[in-house]
Structure formats: C-alpha cells, structure tokens
C-alpha cells in the first residue's frame, strides 16, 4: 500500500510536473532578471556616450543597488507568479485535486519557489555580471568579487524574502504583488523603528552593526514562521 504522506515515486512525478509549470510561469522573468547586468551595461554605455563621456565605467554602488532591487523584486514576485493561482477557484481546484499528498505539494512549492528558481536567477545574474566584467574589465565592477555581503547574508535574506512572497501569494485574494510588497515594506519600516527604539533605550548604537548573528537568527525565525504559515494555509485552504 502506498504511503499517503510521502511517496518518493509520486513526489518525483509531482515535482517534475510542478517545476515545469513554474518554469512556464516564471522562466522568462528569471531569464530577463538574470540578464539585468547586461542591460545595465548597455544602458550605461548609451547614457555616458550620449553625454560625450567616453572614458566611463559603471559605479559599484549603483550595480549593488540595482542587484538588490532586482533581487528583492524577483524573490518576492516569483512565488506569487508560480503559486498565486492557488486561491483562484478554478485553477486552485485543479492544483488541490491533483493526486499527491499535501506534504509533497508543499515540499515541491518550497523547492521551486524558494530554492531552485532563486538559485537559477542568482547563478544567472552573477554569471552574467562576471561575464560582462571579464569581457569589459575597464568598464565594470564585478559585484560578487566586490561584494561586502558574506555567504550567510546571501542565504538568509533571499530565503526570507521568497518565503514572504509565497505567504503573500496565499494570504491575499487579489493584487497579490502590490499587497505583498506594501506589507513587507511596512513591516520593514516598523521593524527598523522598533530596533532603533530598543537601541536608543539601551544607549548602544553598536547593536545594529555588530550583532549580525542576532539578525540572522531573526531572519531564520521569520522564514520559519512564514513557511509554517504556508504549510498550514495550503493544508486548510478551502475554495
């Protein structure tokens, strides 16, 4: 008798199906976002040469800012593009009625929207950026080589943002992208205000700069809460 919770064969079949579905929905966006360093380079070349500045090079701060904005938008929106349909009566029913267990569907969801697609995007972005810098070393700053962020920061933050995107996809009925973005922005501002208040009261401003471990723990905690929400929501969803 097949295991009703988790069956490897059934999961493999489901996962491949779900991955291909996600690629259909977010494949083009992944490709375009991953190629942003090339677009940035072309735009920079066009702007600088049009104003007569021929000895130009891209600014590291600008590259990092663009990478941060594109990444946050990508991590937040891709889960919505892939799984936003779940709350739709027609498409959601199709998803829920597929013969696979809840844990298989949820695992597939997490793997695709929080791990695989963000990894594909990150690899593409960093690869494209590195390629641009290898081809035009005088014009570019390689953000990976120049990056001040360490490996842990590059793991915890994107995972949390993707988990927030997935939670938004399941929480909101419509205008999921805008509502998720606004909710995250408001939460971020409120969080900053709380941290500043605490730091002021403690009379220790260094807390923000030095306690990075606490920041990672906080991110990990938020991610776990968001994932727990997605687990419960997908299990209890009613259409």
């Amino acid at each position: 008798m097949e295991n009703s919770c988790f069956n490897i064969g059934r999961f493999r079949r489901y996962f491949v199906h779900d991955f291909l579905r996600c690629m259909k929905k977010a494949g083009l966006a992944t490709l375009l976002c991953g190629l942003v360093p090339i677009f940035t380079l072309i735009m920079s070349a066009w702007i600088f040469t049009s104003i007569g500045l021929h000895d130009w090079h891209t600014d590291l701060f600008m590259n990092e800012a663009i990478a941060a904005i594109v990444s946050v938008l990508y991590f937040l929106m891709v889960p919505i593009a892939c799984y936003g349909d779940l709350t739709d009566r027609r498409k959601g029913a199709q998803y829920l009625m597929l013969p696979a267990s809840h844990i298989e569907k949820w695992t597939g969801m997490i793997l695709n929207s929080i791990i695989i697609l963000p990894l594909v995007f990150s690899a593409l972005y960093i690869g494209t950026d590195a390629l641009c810098c290898a081809l035009l070393p005088k014009r570019c700053h390689d953000i990976l080589i120049s990056s001040r962020a360490n490996g842990l920061a590059l793991f915890f933050l994107p995972t949390m943002v993707s988990a927030a995107g997935l939670a938004g996809a399941l929480l909101f009925k419509n205008r999921k992208g805008a509502k998720t973005f606004i909710t995250c922005a408001v939460s971020f501002i409120v969080l900053c205000m709380i941290i500043i208040t605490i730091a002021k009261k403690a009379d220790n401003w260094l807390i923000i700069g030095t306690e990075t471990e606490a920041w990672y723990i906080f991110q990990a905690f938020c991610t776990l809460c968001l994932l727990a929400y997605t687990y419960i929501k997908t299990k209890k969803i009613e259409l």
Partner: protein, 275 residues
C-alpha cells in the same frame, strides 16, 4: 460508497446546507437537481474535499474528503462549472495531467474528443468555452475514476454537444463508477441520470431511482383532465399530469415535471417516498 450524515455548511452566518443525510451507491449516475443557490456546487465541493464540513460528516470509502489524501484523490475527478484555460494543446494537457490518475487512458480521451468533434491538437487557451468544457469532460471520463463529480457540465454546450455528452457518458462511464452530475437543465440529462436527487434550500427533497419514482408517482401524458393531480402542465401535443401512483401502473418519468411536482408539494412528496 458515499455516506453523508447530518451534513451542515454555511458561508459565514448564512446557512446553505442543513442536516443533509443521504447515501450514494456505486455504479450509478446521479443527477443532482435544484434551483440556483440551493447548494449544489457547495455539496460537490464538500464531497471532493475542497471545503470542510461545518457539522456532520462525509465518508467516501472510509476517506474524509477534506484530508485530500492521494489515494482518495486518485479515485476522484471533479469538474467544476468554470474551467481554467491552459496554454497547452489538449493532448499535451491530457498526457501531462493524466499521469497522476493511474487508470487514465489517453486513447479513451482521444475517442471522447472525437465524439465531441473537438480537435485534440488545438491549444486550450484558444478554444471557445464550449470546446474547453468538452475537453475537460473528455479528460474526466478518460481518468476512469471511481467517482466523477460534474458541476453543470452541459452549461455552454451547443445542442449537438449535449447529445454527444449523453452519448459519451453512457458509453465511457465504467460499470463501478459513480457519477454525480449537478444541473438545473434537466432536459439535457434526461435518460442518463438515475437516481435523481432533488436538493432544496437546506434539505434533500428526493433521492430515488427512476424505478422508485415510477412506482410512487404516475406521469399521465393523456389530454384527459383528472382530479387529484399534484402537478399539471400543457406541453406541445397535449399535457402532462403527475399523480400519486395508486394503481401501480408504470409510466415514463418526466424529470422537469417531477422537479416541479416535488417543489410544489415538498412535504407530501417526501412523505410518499419515505413510506
């Protein structure tokens, strides 16, 4: 077998289904009839686990539908009244999704598409609503599931397609399959549905086979007006009158007249069938 006991469901404070108790047996094509808003779709979504019951219980071969266990889902196909457009050819859709239902038969899918004169190579997002519906009906029947629930399947189908639908259901439904078809267009499904369930606001007015109905009610198609008719209506070429069957004589059940009779004499008809 599906057992529903004291089922209750409400949308917020508004009750939709109340104390529904009935049993659906295997190998039958049930017609679920009722006016708009009586809870036909809600009942179907409860049966397939898309909603959770508020009170009472549903048991489908030992499964609680809302748990949505894979072994339960692989025995069931739910065709909703609104079907999603997919950017995929119908054949590709069938191959892609059919692999999740063990007994899915692609040849059967193509044969049913043939009955509907639907092109399996056409992209589903370029199909008309009727063509799309026919594709999903073909897929539902090709899944060879034990339970197939269809919500208003003939909505959006043209006149020839309704006849094709009856043909496809009659020819391609497995002997042990149970179909539950909800509709308010009773003429579309005449001759294929048996038993008939008539749902009223928060109650089941009737759950009986055609033989039982014929045994307990008499449908008179003569022009002679008699006293004691529960329902009478002029139809082209004569009239139809419904009486309690006191003589035991058999007659052809007219589902539309039955529906109207049941709605006019709810308690009386319930009494006749609960004897």
């Amino acid at each position: 077998m599906i057992s529903i006991e004291n089922l209750g469901f409400s949308y917020g404070e508004k009750p939709v289904l109340k104390n529904i108790t009935m049993t659906l047996e295997e190998g039958k094509i049930y017609g679920l009839l009722g006016e708009n808003g009586v809870g036909k779709t809600t009942l179907l979504t409860l049966l397939c686990g898309l909603k959770n019951v508020k009170t009472g219980s549903i048991d489908v071969d030992g499964h609680v539908p809302y748990k949505r266990e894979p072994s339960f889902l692989s025995d069931l196909y739910y065709l909703s009244d609104e079907v999603p457009e997919v950017n995929m050819k119908a054949t590709d859709y069938a191959k892609n999704y059919g692999k999740f239902w063990e007994k899915f038969d692609i040849t059967k899918f193509q044969e049913i598409m043939g009955i509907f004169e639907n092109d399996p190579e056409q992209k589903m997002n370029r199909m008309s609503f009727g063509q799309l519906k026919k594709t999903y009906i073909s897929f539902a029947l090709a899944c060879n599931c034990k339970y197939i629930f269809m919500d208003e399947p003939t909505n959006g189908l043209d006149i020839p397609s309704k006849a094709q639908f009856r043909k496809a259901v009659t020819k391609y439904t497995g002997e042990d399959s149970t179909l539950l078809i909800s509709t308010h267009q009773v003429r579309d499904l005449e001759n294929i549905i048996d038993p008939i369930i008539i749902l009223d606001r928060q109650d089941v007015l009737l759950n009986a086979s055609i033989a039982e109905i014929s045994e307990k009610l008499y449908f008179d198609y003569s022009n002679e007006r008699k006293d004691g008719a529960l329902y009478s209506e002029m139809i082209p070429g004569g009239s139809i009158q419904v009486y309690p069957n006191t003589s035991g004589e058999e007659s052809k059940v007219n589902i539309e007249a039955l529906f109207n009779t049941v709605h006019l004499h709810k308690e009386l008809v319930k009494g006749i069938f609960h004897k």
